[in-house]
């Protein structure tokens, strides 16, 4: 039994700036992190591993330096880490990305072990589309359970899963047969912290890379060529420059009064 976790290396968005000329993210010197939602997917997979003794594979599509992301997964305890990296994968939208990821999962299914679950974060913090996970489920014809905040029941032998989905203002309990693809929200769990021994061991590992020679996908269905959508413009919304009023440190009461006055004048305080 194998659980596959899809993780993505994303720029630390709190530190990202946009180049106004080229409309692209300025990535120079910006640290990369594991997409925060994916860390919860990874944690859940590892918890299932602890509980059922199944194996966990982490896969990631990205440039060669995304190896670091997979090493973090190895340090946390995944059994296999595979980087899907090839120039022809580049420039992919969510459709083309899900084609590559689905092909890799299918390959793991035939070559390593039967895949019972695929776990993804609900979305990435750079693209925010939340489409890649569902895309994978569609390509593989897996059950699709999005926004999962709890796995209530899981029975590998009966091929059944019951989850709670976190929707706006309510929860939905859903039963589904396996194999299934889950996208998860942060409330699902609290990610673990890597042990030093595991980090040191992971640092030594050369992560296995699968390129398109390995996957043998039709080039029309991957990368830029396989992407019907593309970003025409990217920009930060202009924001009016704020105003500093009073000195809240020296005179907190007076400044608070000043602030109330300001907000009342703008009709921003409901009375």
């Amino acid at each position: 039994m194998l659980i596959v976790v899809c993780i993505k290396q994303v720029p630390d968005t709190t530190q990202v700036q946009i180049d106004p000329v080229t409309n692209t993210l300025v990535r120079d010197g910006i640290p990369f992190i594991v997409n925060p939602y994916d860390t919860h997917a990874l944690e859940e997979a590892l918890r299932l591993k602890d509980r059922f003794g199944c194996k966990v594979a982490a896969i990631s599509m990205g440039p060669p330096n995304a190896e670091g992301t997979l090493k973090k997964a190895l340090a946390l305890g995944v059994d296999y880490a595979i980087l899907l990296s090839d120039r022809v994968f580049g420039g992919a939208d969510t459709l083309a990305t899900s084609n590559v990821l689905a092909a890799a999962i299918a390959k793991l299914h035939t070559e390593v072990d039967e895949v019972a679950l695929v776990l993804c974060g609900k979305q990435t913090i750079d693209g925010d589309t939340a489409q890649t996970g569902p895309g994978i489920a569609s390509r593989l014809d897996y059950q699709q359970l999005t926004l999962v905040d709890k796995i209530i029941d899981l029975d590998f032998s009966a091929q059944k899963i019951r989850v709670s989905r976190k929707l706006e203002g309510r929860h939905e309990i859903v039963d589904a047969p396996l194999p299934a693809m889950l996208t998860v929200v942060r409330e699902l769990n609290r990610p673990r912290y890597p042990k030093v021994q595991m980090r040191l061991a992971a640092a030594e590992v050369v992560v296995e890379v699968w390129n398109n020679k390995t996957l043998q996908l039709d080039e029309q269905k991957i990368g830029l060529k396989g992407s019907p959508t593309w970003v025409s413009k990217i920009f930060s919304p202009e924001r009016d420059k704020g105003e500093i009023i009073g000195d809240g440190y020296a005179d907190p009461t007076g400044t608070a009064a000043l602030l109330i006055e300001k907000l009342m004048a703008k009709d921003m305080l409901p009375l």
């Binding site: 912290y193 030093v196 040191l200 440190y249």
Partner: protein, 665 residues
């Protein structure tokens, strides 16, 4: 009247065998510890031993210390008397002190008699103290009364012995009793006095009973000593000799190689000195009486930590020697011999325990070793630390704020970047000074003062990274190591040699911890620099500020106890306000922590009274208008504490802010 050597000798040798066996057992356990260099600078070590072991300097720092001093020195003097006693017991009539030249014998006999009296008085005081007001409640043990009674028995028996010998000699010599006893009282005041009171017909019985009482008590003492906490009589002196010559304000580096273990989860992963520490503790309880965690009702008790390490070593010693798994885990809720995780996380690393320990036991570093194991090998820690660790590693500040925001505090100011050719000092702002809205005011006040004094300084801006203090004290050495190496490399590349810090945690880390990475910086805390600038006339206070009202000063642990900077902030405040700040009851090296050190700043405090509340209440006893601090963590703890006790009329100000008020406004 003669003691029987054929009875005494076998008993004596049996007790000496018990003694030797117990000593051997414990000393061989110490050798299970990892190697550590503690034999350098022999001169300094010898000095420390004379001062602290024989001079009892730290023992005497507390009122009852004099009691221990008396017992210690009486014991040393009585070693002579007891040697005589043993030799005389083995070879009757052949060896006696009285065979010494009279000029030597008289003062020696006098000293022994007086020492016995003082020791008797001291153990009586100790026993009464344990009955009436023990140093700490658990100190009222049967063991304590047993050992005190044993010592008292030795003293009383020796008086009776000497007195009966004197009386017998008087009878035999036919001397005039009045003049003989008067002479005898000059040599042995107590025994001489007693000699006149003894019934002459029972002298033989008295002598025999006293002799055997003394002999049995002495042998009991010999057997009991190395099997109890009183083993400190043997280990405390070497423990003072092998103490850390530099202040234990930093932790040793770890070697991050595959296959190594990190931190300590078994006693044999401590160093031999750590294990010697555990046998040197006589459980006086001074550490627990100054520990902020113990005082405020947390499970941590530094005395108990050392005791548990000793018990664990004794319990697991054989298993560890044989290379089998230890029976009692060192970490966890397993009763005596184990240290609970809650205790391990309760430490603020304030160092008060180490400052109080008369024999220089290092409690705090042992706790950090346990933290290292939990964090690095088990990834087990209070959940609020997960964010901290990730923020520190990912964004190099505790809050996870974008590093690009680091220099925002000085957007409105004209601040130069540090450049080794044009600026003298690096002002290492620190995370609090850069991001914390309250501490930013201190950064601004300080920079204005630096400019006023004409200091040439610059900052690293968004390239500045966290020093890593909190992660190191929390036991996350792996992340600290990465942070320290990055910082050290950057400092070397940029040619940084002189650093101003406004945070005692940055101060100690740059100054002491980074030395382990080969970087010797001249680091100055802003309170020292400001004091120097006033002293040198580069900053002048024309008119002391009256804004602050009555001020009280709180010592930061990492400025004071860990780095001995006590006077600079006080002198700076005195210059600014025209009067020395009022002292709290616990101040300087005895100051009470604010509760934020050792990474506790980032953790919840659920058990007992909050440490900052305890300290705020202590400060408020002095009726201050302003509480002055020299550390952003202390600042936060006091600001929060004052709000909690609803003391809205009292302010908290950093030394720099008070100076700025006096000089710039």
């Amino acid at each position: 009247m003669t003691p029987n050597p054929y009875l005494f000798a076998p008993l004596l040798f049996a007790s000496l065998a018990v003694f030797a066996l117990a000593c051997w057992k414990r000393l061989s356990l110490i050798s299970l510890g990892k190697p550590e260099q503690r034999c350098d600078s022999l001169g300094a070590r010898f000095n420390d031993m004379l001062l602290y072991a024989f001079g009892q300097k730290r023992v005497l720092a507390k009122p009852f210390g004099i009691n221990h001093f008396v017992i210690f020195w009486s014991f040393l003097i009585l070693l002579i008397a007891n040697t005589e006693f043993i030799l005389n017991g083995l070879f009757p009539h052949s060896i006696k002190l009285i065979m010494l030249p009279f000029e030597l014998y008289v003062p020696l006999a006098f000293m022994i008699d007086i020492a016995s009296l003082l020791a008797l008085a001291a153990v009586t005081v100790a026993a009464v103290r344990r009955l009436v007001a023990p140093p700490f409640p658990e100190a009222r043990t049967p063991e304590a009364f047993f050992i005190l009674t044993l010592i008292a028995t030795l003293m009383l028996a020796s008086f009776a012995l000497n007195a009966s010998e004197l009386a017998a000699f008087m009878l035999k010599s036919g001397a005039d009793p009045a003049s003989f006893l008067a002479e005898a009282r000059k040599v042995m005041p107590v025994s001489g006095l007693l000699a006149g009171l003894l019934p002459s017909l029972q002298l033989g019985t008295i002598h025999a009973v006293a002799w055997w009482a003394h002999a049995l008590a002495l042998m009991a003492f010999i057997c009991y000593l190395p099997n109890s906490k009183h083993m400190h009589i043997l280990t405390a002196i070497p423990n003072c000799f092998f103490q850390r010559l530099e202040k234990p304000n930093t932790q040793p580096r770890e070697d991050f190689a595959i296959g190594n273990t990190f931190g300590v989860d078994r006693v044999d992963r401590y160093s031999w000195k750590d294990l010697l520490d555990s046998f040197s503790c006589t459980e006086c309880g001074r550490c627990q009486k100054v520990c902020p965690a113990s005082i405020t009702g947390k499970p941590l008790n530094p005395r108990a930590v050392i005791h548990d390490i000793k018990v664990n070593l004794l319990e697991n010693g054989n298993a560890l020697k044989n290379g089998t798994a230890p029976r009692v885990p060192l970490i966890g809720e397993h009763g005596e011999g184990s240290v609970s995780e809650e205790s391990i996380w309760g430490c603020t690393t304030c160092g008060a325990c180490m400052e109080a320990c008369p024999v220089f036991i290092e409690q705090m570093p042992k706790i950090i070793e346990l933290r290292r194991h939990l964090v690095e090998s088990e990834a087990k820690f209070p959940e609020e630390l997960l964010n901290l660790f990730e923020n520190m590693e990912g964004r190099s500040n505790p809050w996870g704020i974008a590093p690009s925001e680091r220099a925002k505090w000085c957007n409105q100011l004209n601040v130069k970047p540090f450049d080794k050719d044009t600026t003298e000092y690096l002002f290492y702002v620190g995370c609090a000074g850069s991001f914390d809205s309250r501490a930013k005011h201190v950064s601004v006040a300080l920079t204005q003062l630096l400019d006023k004094a004409g200091i040439s300084w610059g900052i690293l801006g968004k390239d500045e990274k966290c020093c890593g203090d909190s992660v190191r004290r929390l036991g996350n050495e792996f992340v600290f190591d990465k942070m320290a190496r990055e910082n050290v490399t950057m400092f070397i590349e940029r040619g940084v040699t002189k650093v101003i810090t406004q945070c005692p945690h940055c101060f100690t880390t740059l100054k002491n911890d980074y030395r382990q990475y080969g970087l010797e910086l001249e680091v100055i805390h802003h309170s020292e620099l400001l004091r120097n600038l006033v002293r040198d006339g580069r900053l002048t206070v024309d008119k002391a500020t009256t804004e602050m009202g009555a001020t009280v000063f709180h010592d930061s642990c990492y400025l004071g106890r860990h780095n001995d900077v006590y006077e600079a902030p006080r002198e700076a405040l005195a210059a600014a306000t025209g009067a020395a700040p009022v002292e709290m009851e616990r101040n300087r090296n005895n100051a009470f922590c604010c509760g934020a050190g050792g990474g506790r700043m980032w953790m919840e405090e659920h058990v007992g009274e909050r440490i900052n509340i305890t300290r705020v209440k202590e400060a408020l006893e002095q009726k201050p208008d302003t509480i002055c601090v020299a550390c952003p963590y202390c600042m936060t703890m006091f600001e929060d504490g004052l709000k909690d006790v609803k003391a809205d009329n009292v302010r908290v100000r950093d030394v720099a802010e008070v100076m700025a008020e006096a000089i710039l406004r």
